[in-house]
Symmetry: C2
Subunit: 502 residues, 2 copies
C-alpha cells in the first residue's frame, strides 16, 4: 500500500473507532442506560466528539491528506483510494470552515431548543418554543452562509443530507408527486369504508411480538450473528461496523403492527450498512451515502416488500400462529388491505404510504420559506394548518398534533425532511429497475422471498458505501436520474387495486 495513503488511513481508522464508540454510547443510552446515568453519558459523548473533531480538523490530518493526494494523483476514479480521498478532502475542507465558536453556539442553541421543544409539545405551547425556533433558523441560515451555495441558501442545507441534489430539482419532483397524489387521496377518501383495519387494534402479547420482530428481520435477510434487536421509545438503527449493525423497535401492546413494520424499516437500513464493501471498513466510506438513499432501503423493505401481497402470502400464517385469537379468522387479503389503508391523519410517523409524502412536502415548503425569510416563525402554525387543509383536507386540533410534532427543527436540521420522500421515490425506482432487470426477482417477491432482490441491492447500491453521491449512484444503478414516475406508477397500481379505482 502507498506509504502516505497508509499513514492517512491509520489516522482515519482512529477517527472511525472514535465515531463508532460514540455510536455505542448513544445506542446504550437509548436501550440500557438508567435514567440518572444521562449526565455522565452526555459528558462522555461530548468528550469523544471533541476528540474526534480535533483529530478530523487538525493540521496533521490536512498534511496527511495532501501527501496522500499527491501520491495517488493518478488513481482510478472508481478505486477505493481515489473515492476515499475525494470524500475526505470535501469533509475536511467543510469541517474546517466552522469555527469552534460557531460549533459551540450551534450546540448551545440546539441544546436549549431541544429542551424547549419537548416541553412545548407536551404543553401545546408553541409560543414558548418560538424564540428557540427563531434561533435555530438563525443558526441554519448562518450554516448555509458558511458552507456557501450557488443558487439558493436552502441548497447548502439540503446538501448536508443529500449531497449533489439541488433544491430546484427536488421541488420539481415533489410538485409531480403532489399533482398525482392529491387527486388519488381524494378519490380514496370518497370510499373510506372500503378497508376495515379495526382488527389490527387489539391486545397483542409483547413477548410474542418480540419473537415476531426477530422473525420479520430474519425474513428479509437480517443476520443476528451480525446484529442485535433492542427495545426503545423511538426506533432507530445504528452501525458499529459492518459486522455489528443493530436495529431497535418499540412494542405497543395494543397494536402489533407498530413493532412489526418498525422492525422491517430498521432492518432495511441495517441491510444497507451490512452490505457495505469489506474493503471500505473503518473508513468514512463505510456508511450509506445519503439520507435519501438510506431511507430508500428502509422504505423498500418496510413498504414495497413488507406491505406487499406476496410477502404476506408467505408469512401471514406465522403471524396467525403467534396471535391465533386475534388473527385466526382473518384472511391474507383482509390483512393486506388493512395494512395498506389510506387515511389522512395528523401525525407524520403514523401516516400511510400515500399520505406520508404530503406531510413531507408540507415541511419542505415551510422550511424553505423559513430559511429564505419569506415566512416568520410567528406565522408558522397558521401556515402549517393551512397546508394540512390543502394537502390532506384536515386541520390539526392543536399544535402538538401539528407544527410541534417533530424534533428536527429544534436540532436546526433544516434540509433533512425532504430526504424521507426522496427515500420513497428512490425505493420505487430501485424496485422497478430490479424487477425489470431480473425475472427471478419478480417471481421471488410474489412468494415473499427477497434473496435475489437483496443481491441486486448489494451489488448496485450497498457495496459502494459512500463512494458515490446519491445522484451518481442512482445513475449507475438504474441508468436514470430520480423522478417521481416509478413511485406514481407503483401507488396507482397498488391503491388502484385495493380501492378499485378506475
Amino acid at each position: 500500500m502507498p506509504e502516505k495513503y497508509s499513514s492517512l488511513l491509520a489516522r482515519l481508522h482512529t477517527l472511525n473507532d472514535l465515531q463508532k464508540s460514540i455510536a455505542v454510547l448513544q445506542w446504550d443510552r437509548e436501550t440500557n442506560m438508567p435514567p440518572q446515568g444521562n449526565s455522565g453519558r452526555t459528558q462522555q459523548i461530548t468528550t469523544l466528539t471533541q476528540l474526534a473533531h480535533e483529530i478530523g480538523t487538525s493540521n496533521e490530518m490536512g498534511e496527511l491528506l495532501a501527501a496522500a493526494e499527491a501520491e495517488l494523483i493518478d488513481a482510478d476514479y472508481d478505486s477505493t483510494e481515489a473515492s476515499l480521498l475525494r470524500y475526505v478532502r470535501r469533509q475536511y475542507d467543510e469541517e474546517r470552515k466552522f469555527s469552534s465558536d460557531f460549533v459551540r453556539r450551534r450546540s448551545e442553541v440546539t441544546g436549549a431548543a431541544g429542551f424547549a421543544w419537548a416541553q412545548a409539545r407536551a404543553q401545546n405551547d408553541f409560543a414558548s418554543f418560538a424564540p428557540h425556533l427563531q434561533a435555530a433558523v438563525g443558526i441554519a441560515q448562518e450554516s448555509a452562509e458558511i458552507l456557501g451555495y450557488e443558487d439558493e441558501k436552502y441548497d447548502a442545507l439540503l446538501n448536508q443530507y443529500e449531497r449533489g441534489m439541488k433544491t430546484k430539482d427536488v421541488r420539481a419532483i415533489f410538485e409531480k408527486v403532489k399533482r398525482e397524489t392529491v387527486p388519488l387521496i381524494h378519490a380514496i377518501s370518497a370510499q373510506r369504508d372500503a378497508v376495515d383495519d379495526s382488527f389490527l387494534f387489539q391486545s397483542f402479547d409483547v413477548d410474542a411480538q418480540k419473537k415476531l420482530a426477530r422473525y420479520a428481520a430474519e425474513s428479509i435477510g437480517y443476520d443476528f450473528t451480525r446484529g442485535h434487536l433492542g427495545q426503545v421509545e423511538h426506533p432507530f438503527s445504528t452501525s458499529f461496523g459492518r459486522n455489528d449493525v443493530r436495529i431497535t423497535t418499540r412494542f405497543n401492546p395494543e397494536f402489533a403492527n407498530s413493532a412489526l413494520f418498525a422492525t422491517l424499516h430498521e432492518a432495511g437500513h441495517a441491510l444497507y450498512e451490512k452490505g457495505v464493501g469489506e474493503e471500505l471498513e473503518r473508513t468514512p466510506l463505510a456508511q450509506g451515502t445519503s439520507s435519501g438513499i438510506h431511507e430508500s432501503q428502509s422504505r423498500l423493505f418496510e413498504n414495497q416488500v413488507g406491505r406487499s401481497r406476496g410477502y404476506w402470502d408467505a408469512h401471514f400464517s406465522k403471524l396467525q400462529a403467534h396471535f391465533p385469537q386475534q388473527m385466526g379468522r382473518i384472511d391474507t387479503e383482509k390483512f393486506y388491505r388493512a395494512i395498506n389503508k389510506v387515511q389522512p391523519s395528523f401525525i407524520r410517523v403514523e401516516a400511510d404510504e400515500l399520505t406520508y409524502n404530503m406531510h413531507i412536502i408540507l415541511r419542505f415548503e415551510l422550511e424553505q420559506a423559513l430559511i429564505n425569510g419569506d415566512l416568520s416563525v410567528a406565522d408558522l402554525p397558521a401556515a402549517w394548518n393551512e397546508k394540512m387543509q390543502t394537502l390532506l383536507g384536515i386541520t390539526p386540533p392543536d399544535d402538538t398534533q401539528g407544527v410541534l410534532q417533530d424534533v428536527h427543527w429544534s436540532m436546526a436540521a433544516f434540509g433533512y425532511f425532504p430526504t424521507y420522500t426522496l427515500g420513497n421515490l428512490y425505493a420505487a425506482l430501485f424496485m422497478e429497475t430490479a424487477r425489470s432487470h431480473d425475472a427471478q426477482i419478480v417471481a421471488e417477491l410474489a412468494r415473499g422471498e427477497t434473496a435475489t432482490l437483496l443481491a441486486w441491492l448489494r451489488n448496485n447500491i450497498h457495496r459502494h458505501g459512500s463512494k458515490y453521491d446519491a445522484p451518481e449512484l442512482c445513475q449507475r444503478a438504474t441508468g436514470q436520474t430520480l423522478s417521481a414516475d416509478p413511485f406514481v406508477r407503483y401507488v396507482r397500481e397498488k391503491f388502484g387495486g385495493i380501492y378499485a379505482l378506475e
Copy 2:
C-alpha cells in the same frame, strides 16, 4: 478553584470519559454484542486505550501535574486536591516507566496466551498452554523489574492490585487462615451428611430467577434508577460513573443460587462504586481503592449478609413465592444450612465460604514460586495437585478442573489472586467493627435489613474512593491493621453452629 489545578482537572476529565467509554464498550461486548462484532469492537477498545494512554503519559500531562503540585503544595492531606495529586503523580510516574515497546509485547503475549488458555482448558491440554504461561511469567517478572521493589519481586506485582500491602504481611496473615481453617474443614468433613442441599438442584424458571435477582439487588440497597442488571456468561460489575453502575449475573436453569448469589456479590461491588463521594466524580479517585477492598464489599453482601440467617428470615418467603413447587416445603433453617454447606471441591468459583480461601492460598503460594523462579512451569500441574491434596484432601481428576481452570495467569495478572482472600478478611473485619460500633446494625441484620450497615460502609469506606490506600483506609475505618482474627472468629461461630462442633 486554583487555576493550574483546574487545568489539570479538565485533562483528567477527558481521560476519565475515555476510560468510562471503554468500560461501556466492554460491557456491551459481554451483554449485547453479536458474535461477529468482536473484531471491530477490539479495534475500538484498542484505539480508545491508546488515546487514553497517550493523554495519560503525555509531557503535557506531566507539566499540568507539576504546575498543580506547585500551586497546591500546602493543601491539606485529606483534601480532594491533595489526594488527587498524590494519586495522579504515582500513576503518571508508574505509567511512564513502561516503554511502548513493552506495552505492545505485553499485549501480544497476553493476547496469544488468553487464546491458548481457552483452547487448552477445553481440551485438557496443559502442554499446549505451557509455553504461553512461560511467556506470561516472563512478562510479569519484567513488569516487576520495571516497577521496582524493595524486598521481593512479588511485592511489585501485588502492589498493582493491593497498593501498600507487603507480600510478607499477606503471607503471615494467610498462614494463620490456613492454620485455623484446615482443622475446621477436617472436622466438618467427618460429618459430611449433616447438611442436605440436594433440593437446591432442581429446575428453576429463568424469568422468575430474573425477578428474584432484581429483588435481591434491591434488598441490599442497589437502586435501579442508577443501575442496570445484565445477563452474561461470567458475572461482573462495572461503573460508568457513580450514577450508572451496572451489575450482571448468569442464570442456571437447574440451580437458582448461582444467579442469586452472583447478583448479591456484584451488587456489593456496585454499592461501593455508587457510594464514592460526588466531589471525586470524573477523577481517578472515583473508584474503589484496591481489589481487596472491592472484594470485601462484594463478599460482605454475598456471604456475611446474603448467607446469614437474619437475611433469610426476612426474605425466604419471597424465594418461596417465586418457587412454590421447589421451596414450598423447605423451611428457613434447612435453606440456611444448605447455602452454607462446606464441601471441598475442585473449582474455585464454586467453592463455599470456608474452603474458598484454600483455593486462593494455593494459587498465592504457587505464583510466588513461579515469579521467584523456584517452580518451573513444567512442574506446575503436579505442584497444584499436591497442594490440593494437602489443603483440601482431594486431587483434581484432570488439569481442566485443576491448574487450567482460571483465566488470570494467561493475562499475566500475577498478584491478583490473594486479593480475593484479602476481601474475605476485610469483610469480616469491617463487619465486626460495624457491629461493635452500632447496636442498631446488629438489630437490623437480625431482621435482614442493611440500611444502617450500608450507611456505615458509605461513611467509612465508600465515600473515600481511592483517596487512601487499603491499609490506611482500614486503619481509619477500624482503628486496626488487617488480621485473620475477625474472619476466624466469624467462621468458627457460624460453621461451629451449623455443624455442631464443640
